[in-house]
Structures are given as structure tokens and as C-alpha cells.
Homo-oligomer: 346 residues x 2
């Protein structure tokens, strides 16, 4: 599909700490950038109707409920059938939208997408991926929290899903894939990592072996595969340390009046650095392995992050990411001879 193809993205107007204002602003910016983007905006009447009236290529889908950040994800999804998240996922399920974007509760988006859109044929555990922007060469990290406990075969599927995402988002034709471990040799690490290493070596195109924690910010490989426990710890550590370190650099720069003047000179260069490290650029974290595109933005998303998230949703939908994933999982299963009937004719 070409980038100019018309695509419909459902957007949760109520997602994130600064909703609905920043969501509406981000959506308006995305519509202005992508002239073939159509948005279905889910949310309360008083939020979505006036906004839709004043913009083009956007429709209101009025909902009466909102899932709050603190609610139990699965319970909230089951009980709030007319919430902006549940309705957004249903629009994808019903074929009215190609993608759903929300900066709301990660747990609720994950539960809604899995329950409503359903899993792709052959995928046993959907996983959440993100792009780590710390180096000159960003990489995809997954799973970042959907599955705290996994089996080696889950990691193989995560690798295939992350590979497809890196192909689409980072435009790497043959992405290199690494398994996050605590040593380079295949025999290093936990039992999970050791078993996953041998499975991945046999089944994952582009698998280059183990990588270590330091390789994530370096971008040594295009895709770093791990369980959702380690991945979540790593992601939050990256976010926390980037913030702490840049804060300390900033504090050092204002230690004296002379420092403050010197810092003003450096300001534009440091701003560019900060922008390059800004996760907002990559527009949120996709839940890979469900039948449809579901991208979850950070709760603290700015309008720029929302814009980016909506544009990435459109791009990933146009590229047909779910079909790419389903195909690669089916190919693997065909090779392994464990082909299930439902996958046979893909």
C-alpha cells in the first residue's frame, strides 16, 4: 500500500493525563500533516461533537463511559461497554477503522484489544513493543509489560512480531534480532534465556544471538527481545535515568551566574539532543499480535506525542502490520510442522 492511501484511525479522546485538550490538538495536527487520514474520535458528546464540527476528515463516535487510569483493566473493559477505549477497539473489530490509538490506561487498552479484536491466528501471547530512542540508531524493545512470565516459544513469537514492527516503523528491511541476556555466549543466563536462545537461533530470521543491557541504548541490534518483566524494568529504568541525568546536567549548568550564561549558548544544541531522545517521536507502544492495529500512548503524552501516535497508527495500518505478523508466525509453524488447521491456508 502507498503512503497516500486513505486510512481510518479510531482515536480515544479521553486517553492520557492531559485529555481531552492535548488529544484534540494532536489529532488536529495529525489531520493537517496526513491528507489521506480519517479519524473516528471516541468520547463524550460535549468533547467530540464540537471538535468534529470544526474539522475535516473526522467523525464523532459518542460514548458515555470513560475508563480511569486506576481501574482494574479487565473488569473495567467488561463493565464499561460504552467507554471510549472499548468502542474504539470495536470500531477496528467491525472493520470501520484500521487502527485504534489511545493514551489511556495501558492495561485497559491491552485487555480491550485482546478481548475485542482477538489474537491473530497462531499468536499465543500478544506483546507490547516500543522504540528506544537513546542512541543514534533506535531499536525496538519488546515485550515491555504485557507478559510478566513467558515461555521460550513466546519469545520466538515476540521476535517475529518485533521484526515486522522494525521493518515497518524503522524501515529496516532485514532487521537484526538480539535476545536480552546477561552474557554473550549461548550457554549464559537464565534457563528461559538459554532455551529461548536455541529456539531463536533455529527459527528467527536475522537472529544474531544474545545482547546485554548496555546494547539497548547503543542500538547494537534492531530488535531486542525479552520477557515483559525484564523489558518493563529496562524501559522504566531508561526513562528514569534519562530524566535524572539530564536534570543533573541542567542543575550543573545553573550552579553559577557564569554557568547560566554559558548554558544559554549551548541551549539550542542541548534542546536538539533532548528532542532526539524524546520518546514522543515514536508515537507510543503497539500491542502486537492482535487482529488490528492498537497503539498505546504514554499517559503523560503531549500534543506532539498524540500527533505522532496517530500518524504512526495510520502508517502501521497502511503497511498491513497484523497481516505481516500472521504470515511470519504461520511460516514458522509450517516449518516446525505444528501447523494448526486455522492457519493452513494463510
Amino acid at each position: 500500500m502507498s503512503a497516500a492511501e486513505r486510512v481510518i484511525v479510531a482515536v480515544d479522546a479521553m486517553g492520557g493525563d492531559h485529555a481531552p485538550e492535548v488529544v484534540l490538538q494532536g489529532v488536529a495536527e495529525a489531520l493537517a500533516v496526513d491528507s489521506e487520514l480519517v479519524v473516528l474520535l471516541t468520547g463524550p458528546h460535549d468533547v467530540v461533537t464540537p471538535f468534529v464540527a470544526s474539522h475535516q476528515r473526522i467523525e464523532a463516535v459518542v460514548t458515555t463511559q470513560v475508563i480511569e487510569m486506576g481501574e482494574h483493566p479487565a473488569n473495567a473493559v467488561r463493565s464499561k461497554n460504552d467507554s471510549s477505549i472499548v468502542v474504539g477497539c470495536r470500531l477496528v473489530k467491525d472493520g470501520r477503522a484500521a487502527a485504534f490509538f489511545s493514551a489511556g490506561s495501558t492495561g485497559a487498552c491491552m485487555a480491550a484489544a485482546t478481548l475485542i479484536m482477538g489474537r491473530l491466528s497462531g499468536v499465543s501471547r500478544p506483546a507490547i513493543a516500543t522504540v528506544i530512542p537513546a542512541s543514534d540508531r533506535p531499536c525496538v524493545l519488546l515485550d515491555i509489560g504485557a507478559n510478566a512470565d513467558v515461555k521460550p516459544e513466546n519469545l520466538v513469537q515476540f521476535a517475529l512480531m518485533g521484526r515486522a514492527y522494525a521493518q515497518v516503523l524503522l524501515e529496516r528491511t532485514e532487521p537484526s534480532i538480539g535476545l536480552l541476556n546477561i552474557g554473550e555466549e549461548p550457554t549464559k543466563g537464565s534457563m528461559l534465556a538459554q532455551e529461548a536462545h536455541s529456539l531463536m537461533a533455529a527459527n528467527v530470521p536475522g537472529f544474531t544471538g544474545n545482547v546485554e543491557g548496555r546494547d539497548i541504548p547503543l542500538g547494537t541490534v534492531d530488535v531486542v527481545v525479552t520477557d515483559g518483566f525484564t523489558g518493563n524494568v529496562a524501559l522504566k529504568l531508561l526513562e528514569g535515568l534519562s530524566k535524572t541525568l539530564l536534570g543533573q546536567v541542567k542543575a550543573a549548568m545553573t550552579e553559577s551566574a557564569l554557568n547560566t550564561i554559558a548554558a544559554a549558548v549551548l541551549q539550542p544544541s542541548l534542546k536538539r539532543l533532548k528532542d532526539r531522545l524524546d520518546p514522543d517521536m515514536y508515537g507510543g507502544a503497539p500491542l502486537l499480535g492482535v487482529k488490528g492495529v492498537c497503539i498505546i500512548g504514554h499517559g503523560s503524552s503531549s500534543a506532539r506525542a498524540i500527533r505522532s501516535g496517530v500518524l504512526v497508527s495510520a502508517r502501521v495500518a497502511r503497511a498491513g502490520l497484523p497481516a505481516m505478523i500472521e504470515r511470519s508466525v504461520a511460516e514458522l509453524q509450517a516449518e516446525q510442522g505444528t501447523l494448526s488447521p486455522g492457519v493452513a491456508n494463510v
Copy 2:
């Protein structure tokens, strides 16, 4: 014991990428700082003998073998009975030294200390700890790699060992202890983390609940407890990201001639920041849970890191860290009513 008490530390002259030169320099500096420190220097005749002749409070223990960084740890320890690492651990075992310090192979030091010194009564799995210097309030992180797969009860012991280390090294009387997890609620995370949470809540003094990846650089708690897989990934990620980020800040500062001038003004402040973040300050990573003090320096240790490692070894030995750990593990077992005969009279 007072800080002025005489203490004997065995030091591996051959440990680290820049051995023996930086080791000898670091030892000389440590001897100059601590007037009650005595060093037993293990290594080849031509390295240790001339150095000992020109310094005070130091004895040569000539060894004929060296364990290289790439060797299989357990095999090397078994086959190289007269190596600087094995002999150093034996000096502690035999009561000739109170501590052993090496910047050599972590695996070999761990294997030698465990095999030769032996485990403390009641400790089922020794663990490696380190101090994370990223925040204004440094914290202890363990395990950073000794145990890739652990049980919940191991994490409880890690907590007690890390607690004792924080008391000695960070001088926190009642350290706060957090379990590294992927959510704050007790029901979040992997099965391991959930079970460990309830065990720790019942048995670990100062346990404050779950902490997340971002809490490590923030120093939210004094001790962060995790398995050796997650801990090693986190540590290497911290090291890698700190290096990457500071490198990027430096690059931004030399983007133009004007930037370079401004950066020169800021240089002293940024140098102080870099020093504060330097892990060298905390002198290496102790293997906690063995009968004796064993501290392992980074392979890339500078003379300053060696000095710091030798001084910390002396300090930890004077504080009687192994006895503190044995006592707290015995107290826990007494409370749990699973007291083994060997621990009964401690």
C-alpha cells in the same frame, strides 16, 4: 570495631584490564590513606616482590598462575590452585586476611570465594551487590548476576544481605528495602515477584514494597532487591546509558566553536557531576553470603577504583559484615521455626 583497627586485606595484583600497574598504584594509594591497613599482595614474583620491597605494611604472596578473563570460572578455579585469585581466597579462609579484593574475572572470584571460603551458615545462595551512584541518594542493588534463576526465599535472603551492606557502606541505620517489580501493587508482576513480595513483607525489616525501574536511579529506597538476571540487565543498562548520554551531551557541546567555549566554562561543574556518577567511588561489588569479605572490582578499574575497592574491603571487614549477615539470616530462620542445627547457637 573502630575504623582505626588494624586489618589485613589480600589483593590480587593481576586483576583487571590494566593489571598489574593500576593495581599496584591503587594499593599504594590505599596504604597511604589508611594507616592501619596491611595488604597481602598475591601475584607473580616479578610483580609483587619489587613492589613490596619499596612499600610498608605490605607482604608478597608469590603465586605462579593467573586466571584470565575469558576462562571458564569453575574449571579455572579448580585447575589453577596457585593462581592469584585462588590463593587470595585461601588467605581469607585460613584467617590470614580479613578480606580479598580483585578486579579480575567476576565468575572466577565468585567461584573461588564460594568454593574456598564457603557459604555462611543458613545462606543458600550468595549474591553480588553494587552501589548505584546515579542519584543524589545512592542505593544498593542486588543480585547483579550471581543467580540468573532464583526462588522467592532467595530474594528474602538477598534483602537481608543487602540491608547489612547498606548499613555498613552507606551508613544507613534502618535501610528501606524495595522489591524490583513492574507495578506498585503487591499483586503485580511475575509469579516470582508476587511470592517474594508476600515473603518479604512478612520477614524483611524495612521492606517498603515494590519499586520500579525508574526508582533505581532515583534512589527511592536504600536497597533494591531482584534476581541476578534482571539485576544484571539493569546494571549494564545503567552503565551503557550513562556513557551514551554523557557522550551525547559532550558531542552537543562541541557542535560549534562558540559551544566549545561555553562548554569550557561549564567544564568544572560537569566534571563534578561525572565524578559523582562514577561507580569507581564505591569500590566494586561484594559477593555477599560467603564466609569472609570478597569484593570484586570492575575489569576496567582505574587506580582510583582499586584504591577505593581496597579501602572498602578494609571497612567492610572491620564492620564484620559476614557476621552481621549470618546473624540476620539466623534470626529470620529462628522466627520461621526452620532453624537448622548448625545455626542454633549463633
